[in-house]
Symmetry: C2
Subunit: 254 residues, 2 copies
Amino acid sequence: MNQVLSVIEARSSLRRYADKPISPEDKQAILHSALRAPTAGNMMLYSIIDVTDQAKKDFLVKSCDNQPFIAKAPMVLVFVLDFSKWYEYYRVSGVPQWCAEQDKAMHYPQEGEFLLAANDAIIAAQNAVIAAESLGIGSCYIGDIMEHYEAHRDLFKLPELAFPVTMLTFGHYPEDMERVKRDRYDAKYVVFENEYQELTDAELVEMNTAKKYPEKEDNFGLWMYKRKNGTDFMDEMSRSVKAGIDAWNSYGKK
Amino acid sequence: MNQVLSVIEARSSLRRYADKPISPEDKQAILHSALRAPTAGNMMLYSIIDVTDQAKKDFLVKSCDNQPFIAKAPMVLVFVLDFSKWYEYYRVSGVPQWCAEQDKAMHYPQEGEFLLAANDAIIAAQNAVIAAESLGIGSCYIGDIMEHYEAHRDLFKLPELAFPVTMLTFGHYPEDMERVKRDRYDAKYVVFENEYQELTDAELVEMNTAKKYPEKEDNFGLWMYKRKNGTDFMDEMSRSVKAGIDAWNSYGKK
C-alpha cells in the first residue's frame, strides 16, 4: 500500500487537537493542495475563508450546533461555493452589454451553477484534508456551516453568489490519541454495476446491523432518525440552504 | 514533498487513456478509498454506479455534451447523492408510525439534505481520484452528468432520493503523454482571512489575465461567458438540477 492509500485508509475525523500550532509551511502546503484541486473548466468556483479571529471561532462554536472543539482548533477553513468573482468579472468584461446588443437575456446563476460550484469547493476541501493528513494533521468536516445562512453571510461578509458549503477544522493529533477506525457499509450496498439496486427490506436491515456503531438503541433506524433527520438542526439546514439558494437566484434580478 | 503532496501537485484531468485495462486490484483499491472517505455522521449518503456496459457509456458520450473519450475510458464511475437507503430504512424501522404516534410530521429530505449528500458523494469521488492517481491512473470529472436528469435517472434506474452529482472517467496515462500543469488563480484571490474580500474591477482583470489559458480571445470574460454560463448546456444544467431537486422534494408527499 503506497503512502496515498495508507493516508486515506488511516484518516478519521479528529475533534481534539494537540496544543501545537500548525506551522506556516504546513498551512501553505495544505492551502496550496486545495488550490491544485480539479475544478470545472479551471474556473475555481470557490473561496476559502481562513478563520484566525478567536471571536469568530467562538461564534462558530454556537452557530454550528454547539461544538466547543471548533474554538480550540489551530486552523479553521470555511469553503465557500462562489460564482461572485465570475459574474463580477463578466460585468467588468461588458457581458451584460453584449447580451443586450445580441438581444439575448443574460444567463444568471441558478441551482445548476450552485451545485457545480459546490462540487468545486468540496473537491478542494478534500484535497486539503488529504494533504493535512499526510503531514500528521487531522481534520474534521463541519456540515453545520450550511445552517444559519444569514448569520454566516454577515459574519464573513459574503456576497449573494457565495454560500458556505463546508467547514474544516485542523490540528495535530494529540500524543495520547488512539485512532479508532469506524466501520463503513459493505461495498455491495454502495457500489452498483450499471444500474441502481433498490435494496430489499432485509438488506436494509442487514447493511445497518452489520455496521457497528459505538452505541445504539434496539431500534437503530429510529435512533438515527431522532439524531439526524428528525432534528431541529436538520430543519434549520433545510431552511438555511433554501434561503441561500433564494439569495443566489435573486442575483441580477433586482 | 511527500508522495501525497506530489500526487496532488501533479494531477491534472486526463481525457485520453492507454489501451490497458484497470486491474481488478487497482479498481478495488480505488473503490475502497472512495468508501473510506469522510461522511456526515458515518451515513454514507451516496451510491456509486460502476458503468461497465458499453451501450451505457455510448449513451453518456451524447448525454454529457458529446465527449467521445467517455466511451473509451476503461472505468467510469457515477457518484450519486443518495438519501434513498436511509429513508427506506426509516420506513422499515417504523419511523413513520413513531412520528404519527408522537403527533409529529415526519421530516422528509429537502434542499439541506440534498446538499449534505452532495458533500458526501463528492468527498468520496475526490478520494477515488487521489487514490487512482497514486496508482498511475488518471481521471476526469464530468460535471455534465448533472444535465438531463430524467434520462440519467432512467438509464441508471435511480429512485427519487438519488441524483447523479458527478461522474469520473479513469484510465492509465498513455506512454506518449506530456503532462501539462494548468495555472490556478493566485491564492490571494481565493483565500481570505476572516472575511470575504470583494475584489476591485482592477483585481478581477488582474487575476484573470495573470492565469494563462491555452487560447483566449481579446475579451477573456466574454469568451468564457460564451463558453460556459451563456450556453445551452448551462441552461440545461440549471433545468436539470431544478428537476432533480423537485423530484427529491416530492418524496413522501404523494
